[in-house]
């Protein structure tokens, strides 16, 4: 592996496969994802809708619906084996070692419990402290995520807060037991543009202050550039390109990654044309032969079809799955 996360990575994923099995179809949502994440590192996952970003994120804490999910490969987070751990051990890991901020803070919070109670119950669950101590910690957490008049907000119900404050409360819940890894699935998509930036800056500050690894999903390249150390581009359940944020955004190597950058508005591209990627992503309930992007790829040829392209490393720290990219350029 060209990217060196150090001797003791926080997250180690090898050959992750996730399938959803139902009576009528099997959806292969994740098809061989490998990556490592160092302590304190932040990774951003980009990709079209349906490419498997959320499923990958949920797999890191085994939060996909247990009944119909088949998960294969090796996933280690903070030294814990996420694939093999019994459900009881998983419940101890969730919220304490790894926790998640969800996209929709309105529906992700219980409408009939106060914010304070929803934070405190997490602390009590994992640390067995008294109710009073948990309430005190909850207040501290609301201050940490910069909710104004925090004391009053402890007794508020989710519907009494604005979207931005709700997402801050969600972050407070996620951070309540100081997890080593924070997952955030489009944490700002449901919010106003100005609030989005505030939440992102908050997440970046908290990551630095608390020293966590962060993996987040976004559709916004600007967001990725702001807070990520590394970026992974996902397509049809695979990481098709991965590398340091600056290098990847400046010069994406995979044709799909290039298309994705071209299809999104970001700083420094005034005057250039917005392009779109023609075609649609493959149906994940059907087997795919060779490179999954080939049918939409302007550079595709016969040689793309026999097998899924192996991972290539054209530059230190960069990985790409495309046979058109020269090894070690």
């Amino acid at each position: 592996m060209p990217h060196d996360p150090g001797a003791n990575p926080l997250v180690e994923v090898r050959g992750l496969n996730v399938r959803f099995v139902s009576r009528d179809a099997t959806v292969k949502a994740v098809n061989g994802v490998d990556f490592t994440l160092a302590q304190n590192e932040s990774l951003c996952i980009l990709g079209e809708s349906g490419s498997g970003k959320s499923v990958t994120l949920r797999a890191l804490m085994r939060l996909n619906p247990p009944k119909k999910t088949v998960m294969e490969g090796a996933v280690r987070v903070g030294g814990h084996d996420i694939v093999a751990a019994p459900e009881k051990a998983m419940a101890d890991i969730r919220g304490r070692v790894v926790s998640m901020v969800f996209q929709e803070p309105m529906t992700a919070l219980d409408p009939v419990f106060t914010i304070g109670k929803q934070i405190a119950e997490t602390i009590i669950r994992h640390e067995g402290v008294s109710r009073a101590e948990a309430d005190r910690r909850a207040l501290g957490l609301l201050e940490l995520v910069q909710i104004p008049s925090a004391k009053r907000r402890l007794a508020a119900y989710p519907h009494e807060l604005s979207g931005g404050l709700r997402q801050r409360a969600m972050i407070a819940i996620a951070l309540s037991c100081r997890p080593k890894l924070l997952l955030a699935d489009e944490p700002t998509t449901a919010l106003d543009a100005t609030v989005q930036i505030q939440i992102l800056l908050l997440l970046r500050r908290l990551q630095q202050e608390l020293g966590m690894g962060v993996i987040f999903v976004t559709h916004d390249l600007g967001v990725a550039g702001e807070i990520a150390d590394r970026v992974a581009v996902m397509y049809a359940g695979r990481f098709i390109e991965e590398g340091p944020v600056a290098a990847l955004m400046r010069g994406p190597l995979h044709p799909y990654a290039r298309g994705l950058m071209g299809a999104t508005v970001h700083a420094g591209m005034r005057g250039t044309r917005l392009t779109t990627i023609p075609g649609a992503p493959p149906d994940l309930s059907r087997p795919v032969q060779g490179c999954a992007f080939a049918p939409r790829c302007p550079q595709a040829g016969e040689d793309c079809l026999p097998a899924m392209p192996e991972l290539r490393s054209p530059a230190p720290g960069r990985n790409v799955r495309c046979i058109r990219v020269d090894e070690a350029a």
């Binding site: 101890d92 998640m100 992700a108 009939v112 119950e121 997490t122 119900y157 519907h159």
Partner: protein, 317 residues
């Protein structure tokens, strides 16, 4: 909150008035002359007229209603045409008996229904769910009198462990909380409980399944909460809806026990109503229906208030 409660109580007053008017009219619109029920068929016209005047039945309807209402608010529901006793005396005993029966039936039906519904909702599509749905369907569709008679045949006739009639040994009307009396409650209460059991099962099943499908349950799992912790959230979310259906069912039980009370000769309001109907005993009929209807109105009010207290999203303004 206090002013909210007060306002809701005030809103109930016009409803109660409308209910009273309806009760009053219901009896007068029904065919048959009530005087015929008390005087022999061959009585001279003078006697009939005298009795008609005595009971105020010769006055125009609005006046009759006014006089009746005036007495009602003073707690006087008149005298029974059949027995001459004060309606309130008989009603007082009957309401107690009906309350006892329907509260016990509600306790059985609500407990079984909540349990079945919660399990079915949590394990939707499993065999346990199918059993619960089947029981619920059977509960709401089995006729009371049929089930009552089957239970009597089994437990009173064949096995002979439980009495088939009355509310106490020797047909006594005085209630006491001892086994001799409680034995009499078992069969009618079980018979009466199957409908609320079925309806509560269905409702709770739907509510629980819907709650478990919501995003926040995933958040709870993501926080590391175990089954017990998640159950607490589900219960609090399910409470307002469950309570509403229970309040409604309790109201139906009070009024709907007429068949069961008749089958088991249970001396409650249903039994009273039944005999009043056959004897055209208007004061008893009016009083009983009124009390049942007012009970229903207050029950709805109570449920509304409790829902407001339980669900922070309902505005109290």
């Amino acid at each position: 909150m206090l002013s909210y409660i007060l306002r809701r109580v005030l809103y109930a007053v016009p409803i109660a008035l409308a209910v009273s008017l309806l009760c009053f009219l219901l009896v007068h619109i029904a065919p048959g002359d009530p005087v015929n029920a008390i005087v022999p068929a061959d009585a001279p016209q003078a006697v009939v007229d005298q009795i008609r005047a005595e009971y105020g039945l010769d006055k125009p309807l609005p006046v009759q209603f006014g006089l009746w209402l005036l007495k009602v608010v003073q707690g006087d529901l008149g005298r029974s045409l059949a027995t001459g006793r004060a309606v309130t005396d008989d009603l007082f005993v009957a309401v107690q008996n009906t309350l006892r029966l329907s509260l016990i039936a509600a306790a059985i039906g609500f407990a079984a229904g909540t349990l079945l519904g919660a399990i079915a909702g949590a394990f939707r599509g499993s065999w346990i769910d199918r059993v619960a749905v089947g029981l619920a369907a059977a509960g709401v569709s089995v006729p009371h009198y049929w089930l009552g008679m089957v239970l009597v045949i089994i437990f009173s006739v064949t096995v002979n462990v439980l009495p088939a009639m009355g509310a106490g040994p020797g047909g006594s009307g005085d209630w006491a909380w001892n086994w001799e009396h409680m034995r009499h409650l078992v069969l009618p209460a079980v018979t009466l409980s199957v409908i609320p059991m079925g309806i509560v099962t269905r409702t709770v099943r739907g509510i629980v399944a819907e709650i478990l499908n919501q995003d926040f349950v995933n958040t709870l799992r993501g926080k590391g909460l175990r089954r017990g912790g998640i159950l607490l959230h589900v219960a609090k979310n399910a409470a307002p809806g469950t309570l509403a259906i229970m309040g409604l069912q309790l109201g139906y039980l009070m009024g709907g026990s007429i068949l069961v009370e008749t089958v088991f000769s249970w001396p409650g309001t249903g039994f009273l109503l039944n005999s009043a109907i056959f004897q055209r005993d208007i004061p008893v009929l009016q009083g009983t229906i009124l009390v049942l209807a007012l009970f229903f109105v207050s029950l709805n009010l109570l449920v509304d208030l409790m829902q407001t207290a339980l669900d922070p999203r309902i505005k109290r303004a």
